[in-house]
């Protein structure tokens, strides 16, 4: 009874405003999206229940958009464009991820992005720890894969690389919360996490990315928010990374040939380019979106297929986020996402928020090979577009007034 009355009392003073609704929607969506990436879902929960949670989150966002947001004319156009085209892409591709990211992005016009990342970090970290504990207690499956002489553990997540990606994005969010100002001890801790991820999951890309966090942050945090110094620092030059990597991923997908230079690269990254090329040849590039049937090694059915040596289904996955963006969600969503991220990175550079630019750079490297660009359970950083834009406009106004 004491607990119930405590809950009652603390609920009564909750103020319903845009931020409250947004954070609530974000938590509901994050929890359901995270559960979908774990082995809890197939064993104990219906995937439909989690889909309904995601719909509830989107309904809350619409409530916020309709009654708790004030718009300029440009904002109405932008919001309408994103909801319409990303929604159409969902209908055509049967994949709602771009729409969810788009909806969270356009609803965040007046939301404190730092609060979003704090929420992501705390909820994500606690959930990951709980999932690992459940896997170690054998309540859920810990899928173990063998590659050569290496054993790869998933710790309750669908696939070892997915587990590694969760850790990588949590490291990035920690960096963001700390604004890059971390001590030597934290650098050593990040290095140890990288080693652990490599040893336990053999996820080469994510281990390298976690190691790369250290030099990237050392460079970016050195120059961040500091005046003075003429000429460009290295941190000023990395903002176009997403565009360049996207171009490279698409170029190599379209023009892949077995005898070309791409063949060596293809072998290094486990045939990802040739599989992307296969997808491009089979499905082509749609304007709005298209359904692509994939069969990976992740989850219970993928695990069975892996152990049957691919005998149940031919392995076919589009791993690169850029290739997925174009082939699954279509040209309109592809150009919109790349443009928004490029503008965001440029504006952050102009404001000397190099730590955030460094984070976007590392995400773009991950997107070259991994598929988590539009999954908020992994990558919540693209929602920051409005927050960066608002800060950029404010900075420019202050600059103009000072002049």
């Amino acid at each position: 009874m004491v607990i119930i009355s405590r809950i009652k009392n603390s609920m009564s003073d909750v103020k319903i405003n845009g931020q409250t609704i947004y954070i609530t929607a974000f938590i509901i969506y994050l929890v359901s999206a995270f559960l979908k990436t774990s082995m809890i879902t197939p064993a104990y929960f219906s995937i439909h229940l989690l889909n309904y949670c995601a719909y509830l989150a989107i309904a809350l966002l619409f409530l916020k958009l309709a009654f708790f947001t004030s718009y300029s004319f440009e904002q109405i156009l932008f919001t309408g464009f994103v909801l319409l085209f990303f929604g159409l892409s969902w209908m055509k591709s049967s994949s709602p991820l771009a729409f969810y990211t788009g909806a969270f992005l356009v609803s965040a016009s007046d939301i404190d992005f730092d609060e979003i990342i704090k929420t992501y970090f705390v909820v994500g970290l606690v959930m990951l720890v709980v999932v690992i504990a459940l896997a170690e207690l054998h309540v859920i499956k810990n899928l173990v894969y063998v590659r050569g002489d290496k054993i790869r553990e998933s710790f309750g997540i669908l696939y070892p690389t997915d587990f590694a990606s969760h850790v990588f994005y949590l490291v990035l969010s920690y960096l963001y919360i700390k604004k890059g100002q971390i001590r030597t001890g934290s650098y050593i801790f990040i290095f140890l996490i990288g080693i652990l991820i490599y040893v336990l999951t053999d996820a080469r890309l994510d281990s390298v990315l976690i190691f790369l966090v250290i030099p990237v942050n050392l460079i970016c945090s050195k120059y961040a928010f500091k005046d003075g110094g003429s000429g460009l620092s290295i941190a000023d030059t990395i903002w176009p990374a997403t565009g360049i990597f996207a171009y490279f991923a698409i170029f190599s997908t379209i023009f892949f040939k077995n005898e070309s230079i791409f063949a060596i690269l293809n072998r290094l990254i486990s045939s990802r380019i040739s599989l992307s090329h296969l997808g491009y040849m089979k499905y082509g590039i749609p304007l709005i979106g298209q359904r692509i049937k994939e069969h990976g090694w992740g989850g219970s059915s993928g695990y069975k297929n892996f152990n049957a040596g691919g005998g149940l289904h031919q392995y076919f996955m589009l791993d690169s986020s850029f290739v997925r963006l174009l082939l699954i969600y279509g040209v309109v969503v592809f150009i919109s996402v790349i443009a928004v991220v490029a503008i965001m990175a440029y504006q952050a550079t102009a404001m000397k928020d190099y730590v955030f630019v460094g984070i976007l750079f590392l995400i773009s490297l991950s997107c070259l090979i991994d598929q988590h660009m539009l999954e908020i359970a992994y990558n919540p950083f693209y929602i920051a577009a409005y927050s960066i834009f608002n800060r950029y406009i404010k900075t420019r106004k202050v600059g103009n007034t000072n002049e």
Partner: protein, 218 residues
């Protein structure tokens, strides 16, 4: 959560609300564990194996055929097809008759089909016929009768199937039983979900409270 954010803040938040968290863990643990106990049942699986192959004593059959594969390899390649064809309703109907005659059970063909799982082991000429049921007698009856029905019906459904041998019959002693869902596992999951639900609620409350406080300050 303050602006100077530390991992220790998470522990502080948990410590401050330990009573609510433990309460939620207990309630969810009991609810999930109780649900599993209520739903708990034992399922029996009976298995019978069948081998399907061509005569390997014929030397020519062992030699490479025109397309480069041996007859043994061809038999192996066909196992997946045999497994799929064996799942046909006509075989279940045949099994239904055998069950009634040999075991005295009256079962529908669709019931039999829903109990069956026919698979082939990779790189072998073995077909596994397994039947699941809440009664070990029924599982044994379905597995044995279906295996006989397959032997009888398969050569009529496909050309040149080869020799079909039905292996040892399943009996009550060879059935495998599984009891589920596990109350212990569900209880542990409930405890974890209780912890998560309570923590997320507390964290949400803390975040909202901070936002409201910041608004007041403004």
């Amino acid at each position: 959560m303050s602006n100077s954010y530390r991992i220790s803040d998470i522990f502080r938040l948990i410590w401050k609300n330990l009573l609510i968290i433990i309460g939620a863990m207990l309630v969810f643990g009991l609810l999930f564990g109780g649900y599993a106990k209520h739903k708990q049942s034992t399922e029996y699986t009976a298995k019978r194996e069948i081998t399907i192959y061509h005569n390997y004593t014929d030397k020519k059959a062992l030699e490479n055929t025109d397309n480069g594969s041996t007859s043994l390899a061809s038999d192996m390649q066909m196992m997946e097809t045999y497994a799929k064809v064996s799942d046909d309703t006509s075989i279940a109907k045949q099994a239904k008759k055998i069950i009634k005659k040999n075991y005295g059970y009256k079962m529908s063909a669709s019931d039999i089909k829903s109990m069956l799982d026919i698979t082939s082991d990779p790189q072998t000429v073995v077909l596994n016929v397994s039947a699941k049921s809440g009664s070990s007698d029924k599982a044994v009856a379905v597995a044995n009768s279906t295996a006989i029905a397959i032997k009888d019906r398969l050569p009529k459904m496909l050309n040149d199937v080869g020799t079909i041998n039905v292996m040892s019959a399943a009996n009550k002693d060879t059935t495998h039983s599984t009891t589920g869902p596990s109350a212990k596992k569900y209880g542990l999951l409930g405890i974890a979900i209780g912890f998560l639900a309570a923590f997320i609620w507390i964290f949400w409350r803390e975040t909202i409270k901070l936002d409201n406080d910041n608004e007041k300050e403004k």
